[in-house]
């Protein structure tokens, strides 16, 4: 059995259902990196991410017989991964998330910006991603509530399209876009305050 052959979703599924060891290895090789990184982006903790990844593979192996193929294989696997992470998040008492409302842009009645906006984008290019800034971004994304964070991680961190994210989360595309936009507005504002005041709030 060549591993190349198992690059094809349908063949891989067929072999997994038949229970061959080669198919389990092919499944692992294809998806472990993505699953682990997605879990780590959501859970922010190595050992939690590892456990979540274990759960994902167990679930896929157990459920492969009932997977109908009505969505793409990767999106089914991502969905299992997101669910597994969400269950872990919910069972873990999380630190308080911030209300994002107070970080939304403010406009005048005429629809103009109520205050000036600094352009700090060049500033970052100069000292591109030092450790501190990386940590700050982690902290801010971590403070997003689950509703926004999962959409944000799938779309902006993992780089999936709105359609893919919508399929994985069972949300409409407009709902995905609106959550993503609000998450970015929130992060933009927090980064702005950090860049202009130089301290983490």
């Amino acid at each position: 059995m060549s591993t190349d052959r198992l690059q094809d979703d349908n063949l891989l599924l067929e072999e997994l259902r038949a229970g061959t060891e080669a198919s389990v290895e092919a499944l692992f090789e294809r998806f472990h990196g993505k699953i682990y990184s997605l879990a780590l982006s959501i859970l922010k903790n190595d050992s939690d991410a590892q456990e979540a990844a274990q759960d994902v593979f167990i679930t896929v192996i157990r459920k492969v017989g009932t997977f109908k193929g009505d969505s793409a294989l990767y999106s089914w696997i991502y969905r299992i991964c997101v669910n597994s992470c969400l269950m872990r998040l919910r069972s873990r008492r999380r630190n308080e998330t911030v209300s994002i409302e107070e970080f939304m842009p403010v406009f005048t009645e005429e629809g103009m910006h109520a205050s000036l906006v600094d352009d700090w984008s060049k500033e970052v290019e100069r000292n591109l991603l030092n450790k501190e800034l990386g940590g700050v971004i982690q902290r801010y994304t971590d403070s997003l509530s689950e509703k926004y964070r999962v959409v944000f991680v799938l779309s902006d961190v993992e780089g999936l399209s709105n359609e893919e994210t919508s399929e994985i989360l069972g949300l409409s595309v407009p709902a995905v876009k609106s959550r993503l936009h609000r998450a970015r507005l929130y992060l933009r504002e927090r980064l702005t305050r950090y860049m202009t005041q130089g301290k983490v709030e």
Binding site: Q50, D55, F57, I61, R62, F107, M112, H113, K177, R184
Partner: protein, 164 residues
């Protein structure tokens, strides 16, 4: 297009779904409005910066552990398959009824509740049973029993479906 409308449309602007006439209006607004120019640049920068926090390298020892675990579990699973197939149809029906009952009364543990809600999103057959409990659980069709009984497999290993 005013500043507020422009900000509202930035998501469409960056994912390429913006209609051409709006894109043109946006371009014209940007030329005249420094505040929006800065807003757009920092919005874009935010997206780019956040992508760079992605951790795409799995540590080799974690990878090896994970692989050993998965291969081992897959072997055990093959051994378990027989046990699964001996789970009787009556047991599955009882399970499905109990799930629908507890879901309707709100007594289902959170883990299984969220799995059931997710499933209801994707499955038109099961959705009516997982809405308000309007359908008496005594008359669950075989297809729905199959789906609902399988939901238990999505729980993390070691979790009891009904929390007992």
């Amino acid at each position: 297009m005013n500043c507020k409308e422009l900000v509202y449309l930035l998501g469409d602007y960056f994912d390429g779904s913006m209609e051409p006439h709006l894109r043109q209006e946006l371009g014209e607004h940007i030329k005249l409005c420094d505040v929006c120019t800065n807003f757009l640049k920092t919005y874009d920068k935010t997206r780019i910066l956040c992508r760079s926090i992605r951790c795409d390298e799995i540590p080799p020892e974690v990878r090896d552990q994970l692989k050993a675990f998965v291969v081992q579990k897959a072997r055990e699973h093959r051994a378990d398959i027989e046990r699964y197939t001996t789970c009787t149809i009556e047991e599955r029906i009882l399970f499905a009824r109990r799930l629908v009952d507890l879901f309707a009364s709100g007594d289902l543990p959170p883990a299984l509740t969220s799995i059931a809600e997710q499933h209801a999103h994707h499955c038109a057959a099961c959705a009516p049973f997982l809405k308000t409990g309007v359908v008496p659980p005594g008359s669950i069709p075989a297809e729905v029993v199959d789906h609902l009984a399988d939901l238990a497999d999505e729980l993390p290993p070691g979790d009891f479906p009904f929390g007992d």
